[in-house]
């Protein structure tokens, strides 16, 4: 077992970096969903952004221009979705799927002559003495500009939705498009703008993967990050700051599993037991604090499970099996499912008109 190869400070810094693509895509989708549109094409827009950013960055030699192109590319693809759902009133779920399938194909086509090329490097922002502060320096100040841009977008989205008139109108359109229409707001125009914003954010997130995180181009390289971003919006109950929290959680898991893969760590069987105990405690405390009262039987079962976990832990103390890379690679996806299960009970926060088509004649 060689955990010493993992430097905790670098790990946390890397977690922040790993969460950025998910964060960007999710905050864009959050705005789209708050406007009452469910765009399942995040994955397609991300991969298109990734390839657009990559091509432009390689050809111009400037990663920043690449990022701008990625945002434009993502927005352009999302415009297709906006046309389908807002003008031709197509089913949003099907259109989103179509966008993903189309985006995956289009990106593969565009990027085929760029496989194996290294993109120009993005320089980290220089924060002078700030980066030299022990522990906090590398964690907070040692990143490139896109990470700070991501944080800025989250803050900006939060402030806009909460404090400005535009945010209020957007929310009104999402909560009840008929009422918003009756008040004279242009439902379709507002939704189209929200969709474009979501596309641009997803494009940026994709370009972050192809230009900074990996950095190279391979087909289908976003590998489900767009879908995780969609799950994240549910996880965050459509609140911007919770998206940040969730993105760090998922980014963290992705990074930890990558580090574990690299370190070739063996898996202590007893940790399954410990995980069960921790999950039980989290669920119990979550329900005690936030949710409605559950029956005594419910807590009895949780207690039973955690006691079983304790026995499991003691019984398998010291037993280890080698980690298989494949099982580690599953973990972000499994985690998404678990989080969805835990948080799906509370749907009350979902925008009222989410996923419903709007036409003035209806």
């Amino acid at each position: 077992m060689d955990l010493s190869a993992i430097n905790p400070i670098l790990l946390i810094a890397a977690m922040i970096a790993a969460s950025t693509p998910i964060l960007l895509a999710a905050i864009g989708e959050l705005v789209v969903e708050r406007a009452g549109v469910l765009n399942l094409g995040v994955e397609g827009m991300m991969i298109t952004g990734a390839v657009c950013g990559f091509i432009i960055a390689v050809n111009t030699g400037s990663p920043l221009v690449g990022f701008i192109a990625a945002a434009l590319g993502g927005a352009l693809l999302s415009f297709l979705f906006a046309f389908l759902t807002q003008v031709t009133l197509a089913n949003q779920v099907a259109s989103g799927l179509a966008l993903t399938l189309f985006g995956l194909g289009l990106s593969a086509l565009m990027g085929q002559s760029y496989v194996g090329i290294k993109p120009p490097q993005m320089v980290d922002t220089q924060m002078g003495f700030l980066s030299d502060i022990p522990i906090f320096g590398p964690i907070i100040f040692g990143h490139n500009i896109i990470i700070y841009l991501g944080l800025l977008i989250v803050a900006g989205t939060w402030a806009t939705l909460k404090f400005t008139r535009a945010g209020l109108v957007l929310r009104a359109v999402g909560e009840n498009h008929d009422a918003a229409h009756a008040l004279g707001y242009k439902v379709k125009r507002i939704r189209t703008l929200a969709i474009l914003f979501g596309g641009a954010c997803a494009g940026l997130g994709g370009a972050y993967i192809s230009l900074i995180r990996v950095p190279q181009w391979t087909e289908g390289m976003t590998a489900g990050v767009g879908w995780i971003a969609l799950a994240l919006v549910v996880f965050a109950s459509w609140k911007p700051w919770r998206v940040l929290l969730g993105a760090y959680l998922f980014g963290g898991i992705t990074q930890v599993q990558l580090n574990l893969q690299a370190a070739g760590v063996v898996f202590p069987v007893s940790s399954i037991g410990i995980t069960i105990i921790i999950i039980c405690v989290i669920i119990a405390s979550w329900n005690l604090i936030f949710a409605k009262k559950k029956s005594r039987q419910y807590y009895f079962w949780l207690l039973f499970l955690s006691i079983a976990g304790v026995f499991f832990t003691i019984f398998f103390q010291g037993a280890t099996v080698p980690f298989k890379v494949e099982y580690l690679a599953m973990s972000p996806y499994l985690m998404t499912i678990i989080v969805l299960v835990i948080l799906s009970a509370d749907k009350s926060r979902a925008p009222g008109s989410l996923g419903r088509a709007f036409h003035a004649s209806q």
Partner: protein
């Protein structure tokens, strides 16, 4: 100014015309795309749509139509059942993979015993694998209200990792000189999904696909459950008042699509693919979504849509080798088809009205 007017009832003519119109539009825009790539568009379209059926080497390609079409029909028929009820199982790819893994594991467990019971057992194992994988989003949706779209899709990635894991580990061919991948089931007579009539591409998967189509057709035209599914999709509230149990519908729809996707995986691994390997899945599960829509969620429509999609796969391969058309171009082509289809759907539910003055109502 073009205005939209809601039709009192969806137009039946348009329902049949839109898929054809969409195909024509896709051909035109696809031709433009090929021209942009520097290929002769007419030549490319002919290579993709004509060559496989009537071309010089069509005797070789024609059986492929059934081989590639059968899994698409199987998966799409299952998906269409769910889509009708508003249950979006988009993880058919995962169910397909798990069905194949279970079936191959069942077959290889008996290796090298020869018996006529092995193949039916594999069929059951494949169906079971797909069922289990589809039941995960199903049960989670029923019990916790989890979104089935996201869960089923996440399970595709999990299944892909599982596939990589078993082809490098559990199911790896012990005589494979260390290469990843299982034993070749084509060389194991009891487990091989052979062609029933030689050189036609007609294997057991095609038979299963036909049975599935008939079953689904009967379900929707003759059976109460099919009616309940349709009502659930079109008017969920009415369905509930009518005594339809939504949980039952969810589990049935996901279960059925899972079983069919698992079967598709089973017939593929035992026949055309022959073995479990890391790149076993080629995206049938996702293409089937397009097929289901193109076939208007109608079992018989799906058969035609599958044949068309199979044609683009085969034609795409030919175009790739003859014209140097990139493989991804076909993917774009298929995506485009779905776009046009969704956009043109407008015409079934709305009437376009061209007027200069604002309509007063």
């Amino acid at each position: 100014m073009i205005q939209l007017e809601l039709r009192p009832q969806p137009s039946a003519t348009m329902a049949y015309a839109t898929p054809i119109l969409a195909v024509v539009l896709t051909m035109i825009f696809g031709g433009l795309l090929f021209a942009l790539l520097g290929k002769d568009p007419l030549q490319a379209i002919i290579t993709i749509f004509w060559e496989p059926i009537f071309g010089e080497h069509s005797f070789y390609y024609r059986p492929q139509l059934l081989v590639k079409g059968a899994p698409l029909v199987l998966i799409a028929v299952g998906l269409a059942v769910g889509f009708k009820a508003g249950i979006w199982n988009i993880g058919a790819e995962g169910q397909y993979i798990v069905g194949a893994i279970c079936a191959a594991a069942m077959g290889l467990a008996f290796y090298p015993t020869e018996s006529i019971f092995i193949f039916p057992l594999m069929v059951l194992a494949g169906a079971f694998g797909g069922l289990v994988w589809a039941m995960i989003p199903g049960v989670l949706k029923v019990k916790f209200g989890t979104n089935e779209i996201l869960v089923s899709l996440m399970l595709v990635y999990v299944a892909e990792q599982l596939l990589a894991s078993v082809s490098l580990g559990l199911l790896k061919n012990p005589e494979g000189f260390g290469f990843p991948g299982s034993r070749n089931l084509q060389q194991y007579a009891s487990a091989h999904n052979t062609e029933i009539i030689a050189n036609t591409g007609m294997h057991w998967g095609v038979v299963a696909a036909l049975i599935a189509v008939i079953f689904s057709h009967v379900l929707f035209t003759r059976h109460r459950l099919g009616f309940a599914i349709r009502v659930t999709g079109e008017a969920p509230r009415a369905a509930r008042f009518g005594g339809v149990n939504p949980s039952q519908i969810i589990l049935f729809c996901l279960g059925m699509s899972g079983v069919l996707a698992g079967l598709a995986g089973m017939f593929e691994v035992a026949g055309p693919a022959g073995q479990i390997s890391i790149d076993f899945n080629v995206g049938y599960g996702f293409t089937a979504i397009i097929v289901a829509f193109l076939g208007r969620l109608n079992p018989i429509g799906i058969v035609f849509a599958s044949l068309l999609m199979a044609l683009t796969y085969i034609g795409g391969d030919i175009a790739q080798s003859q014209l140097g058309l990139p493989a991804a171009a076909i993917q774009v082509f298929q995506g485009m088809l779905l776009f046009f289809l969704l956009a043109l759907d407008l015409l079934t539910n709305y009437r376009l009205r061209i007027s200069n003055v604002e309509r007063k109502s």
